[in-house]
């Protein structure tokens, strides 16, 4: 293997998106994803991400500073976890300090000076305005979802709308459409309307017949609540004994 730092004259990195994309977020927010335009260094970044309150003062000890930062394989998406010690009830820090985000307050998330794998800094800093609302203590409940069923012989999307924001990564991987015999249908998933809408466009035309939307109950909202229960729950209050149980919503495309 030859180790040379070639191709140094490449475009500087920038932030493409921050999830959740909504600017209104719950005080018990657990997780934020930052999507970069190119592969980034995977160490020493958390310190460069700041949360500033309305007075312009940095809020300290907000993000959980893991020993190994949580990057996807391509090193283009960083997961930020808000310090769970301050999110979880019953823990000493939560009792003493409370949530890092306070309801009805405004904050600015500032991401700057992160470097790509060639040691090049971000071309501009990225700012996200956040208004905090009360804690999200609702689990995602499929009975409240609205389905938009496409017409037969079309390539229109099968659309699911949620009454609350769901987790971007979780939506990408925890929902799947199959035929009645559990064979996955090939297609493309897209996530819209600030993570309140999941669309599935099939690769080939819809045939008439029965289909199933499979939902892995690990599907979470940005506060870590999943279909099985709240992130912070009473002992014995989970819906299913096992994590990862599959719930199914059948739907029919009429001829």
């Amino acid at each position: 293997m030859v180790l040379t730092a070639s191709n140094m004259q490449v475009e500087k990195p920038f932030v493409q998106a921050v999830y959740p994309t909504s600017s209104v977020l719950p005080e018990n927010l657990l997780r934020v994803y930052i999507q970069f335009s190119k592969p980034m260094k995977t160490t020493g970044n958390i310190e460069k991400i700041k949360l500033i309150d309305e007075q312009g003062v940095e809020v300290k000890n907000v993000f959980f500073n893991n020993v190994h930062e949580l990057w996807n394989k391509e090193q283009t998406q960083l997961t930020l976890i808000l310090d769970p010690a301050r999110v979880k009830k019953g823990l000493a820090t939560n009792e003493a300090l409370g949530h890092a985000l306070k309801p009805n307050r405004k904050y600015i998330l500032i991401i700057e000076d992160l470097e790509d794998v060639y040691h090049q800094k971000m071309r501009t800093s990225y700012k996200k305005n956040i208004t905090v609302e009360n804690a999200d203590t609702q689990i995602p409940e499929p009975e409240n979802w609205k389905l938009n069923i496409p017409e037969v012989k079309s390539k229109k999307s099968f659309v699911v709308r949620f009454p609350q924001i769901l987790d971007y990564n979780s939506l990408r991987q925890r929902l799947i459409v199959t035929d009645i015999r559990n064979n996955p249908i090939e297609g493309v998933v897209s996530i819209q309307n600030q993570e309140t809408q999941w669309s599935f466009q099939p690769k080939t035309y819809w045939e008439s017949g029965d289909y199933i939307l499979h939902i892995n109950t690990r599907l979470e909202d940005p506060s870590g609540n999943n279909l099985n229960g709240l992130f912070d729950h009473k002992i014995g209050s989970l819906k299913y004994k096992k994590e990862g149980v599959i719930e199914k919503i059948p739907f029919t495309i009429n001829p």
């Binding site: 730092a5 500073n65 190994h68 997961t79 019953g90 000493a92 820090t93 499979h214 729950h233 009473k234």
Partner: protein, 436 residues
């Protein structure tokens, strides 16, 4: 000061090998030309995030990106003497050997071979997503650095990317999710692999039989309960863990992300089980633990006692008498306390291990550690005495002024200083050499 007593016994065991600082004399043998840009393929491994030694000189290597666990047979000559590491600028030394920039030397883990006392340091070569890793093997006595050869004959591997057995196969491919192996540990015929994904805040805890077979077991969930009265529980990613006998019962001690310390009976960790960890202490807010060790230290009366030490990324280290941990494991667990600092067990003390990136037991007297030197910014590979958890040469005190004379009452301190100066590579600064 407890320090002096601990050290008297250490003094007798120290070998004469600790002569000089090594940072100016990289007397290292490299199995290739220093100027070469090509690194032998046989020392490259796809990824090496975490290391753990198992039985019969087996090194287990966890690769997050590849989703693999390797078992590599190592050869080791027993080193009985307690010879310290004094390699300042270790990252620069490695960069020169590997012919890369020191900012491209990414140290992921370090473990000390239990027989040879050699430091095994996993180094990722650069920041690129496809960057490979090498494992440097550093001998404290000879100062020799080799790179571990990864040969087919000596290496077994197993994929650990299987989904939970209860889930449908079409969830096997989860492109948005990548597993970060946070720790591995060997216990009684199994390698335990703890992980955290970037997408879901839940622990994966796998139990893989060694020697590897086709089967691996995965618990269904790991939850931590902390409350007697609020009785809340939470999905919990384990950050660092170790197995120990607590009052005769094999127990997993785990510290997780946001620093509760929990105990889990080893017998509870079974396939598809819902594992409940009990919170026995909290180690403070805004922190993540790095390594946990059970060490033996000597008290004032000469008696030996065991302590749990936890090194932290954002705080000084934590030391807890193992007896307190045992009492905590037998109790109801802690809950509902208001505290921003370490709390929950008797006798919790802070130890000066700030800037320690990786630590392991080197020998009965010493810990081997990879530290960030905050003055130079370099990464050092050094040893410290177990019990003091510091390096004398980090400090300038009254004792260091040339005209200082030790009074009679300071004879013990003098003896300690002379011994530690030799250990840390400053044999030319002992009281005898300085004429005082």
């Amino acid at each position: 000061m407890k320090v002096q007593l601990i050290l008297l016994s250490t003094f007798l065991l120290l070998s004469v090998s600790c002569k000089e600082k090594t940072n100016n004399e990289p007397t290292v043998a490299f199995n290739g030309e220093k100027s070469a840009t090509v690194i032998d393929d046989n020392i490259l491994i796809d990824g090496a995030n975490v290391l753990a030694f198992g039985p019969d000189n087996i090194l287990f290597v966890g690769d997050s990106k590849g989703g693999k666990l390797y078992a590599i047979a190592t050869k080791a000559d027993e080193l009985k003497d307690a010879v310290p590491y004094n390699m300042e600028g270790f990252d620069i030394m490695m960069a020169e050997k590997l012919n890369i920039e020191s900012r491209d030397v990414i140290i992921n883990d370090m473990k000390i071979h239990p027989v040879s006392q050699e430091a095994y340091v996993s180094i990722k070569l650069g920041h690129q997503p496809d960057a490979k890793s090498v494992i440097a093997v550093v001998n404290p006595a000879t100062k020799d650095v080799q790179f571990l050869e990864i040969t087919n004959n000596d290496t077994q591997s197993i994929s650990i990317n299987n989904p939970a057995s209860s889930e449908l196969m079409f969830w096997k491919e989860t492109p948005a999710s990548s597993l970060n192996i946070t720790d591995i540990d060997y216990n009684e015929g199994y390698v335990y692999v703890a992980g955290l994904t970037n997408s879901e805040f839940a622990s994966t805890l796998r139990k893989i039989k060694y020697p590897f077979t086709d089967s691996q077991e995965m618990v269904n969930s790991v939850e931590i309960y902390h409350a007697v009265h609020t009785q809340n529980e939470t999905r919990a990613p384990i950050r660092t863990m170790l197995f120990d006998e607590l009052d005769g019962k094999s127990t997993l001690l785990a510290s997780y992300t946001c620093t509760p310390l929990v105990t889990i009976p080893t017998e509870d960790i079974q396939k598809d089980a819902d594992v409940k960890g009990k919170t026995i202490a909290e180690l403070g807010y805004g922190n993540t633990p790095i390594d946990m060790l059970v060490v033996t230290t000597q008290g004032f009366d000469g008696s030996m006692s065991k302590s749990l030490i936890v090194t932290n990324k954002n705080r000084g280290g934590t030391m807890i008498p193992l007896n307190s941990v045992i009492a905590g494991a037998k109790g109801n667990g802690m809950a509902g306390q208001r505290a921003m600092f370490a709390t929950g067990l008797d006798g919790i003390q802070e130890i000066p291990t700030a800037n320690v990136m990786q630590v392991d037991i080197q020998n009965p007297q010493m810990l081997g550690m990879v530290r960030r030197n905050i003055e130079t910014g370099d990464i050092d590979l050094v040893s410290e005495l177990t019990g003091t958890f510091l390096r004398l040469s980090d400090f300038i005190s009254e004792y260091d002024f040339p005209d200082y004379q030790y009074p009679e009452a300071q004879a013990g301190t003098k003896q300690y200083h002379d011994m530690v100066k030799q250990m840390e590579g400053y044999a030319d600064l002992t009281s005898e050499k300085m004429g005082r």
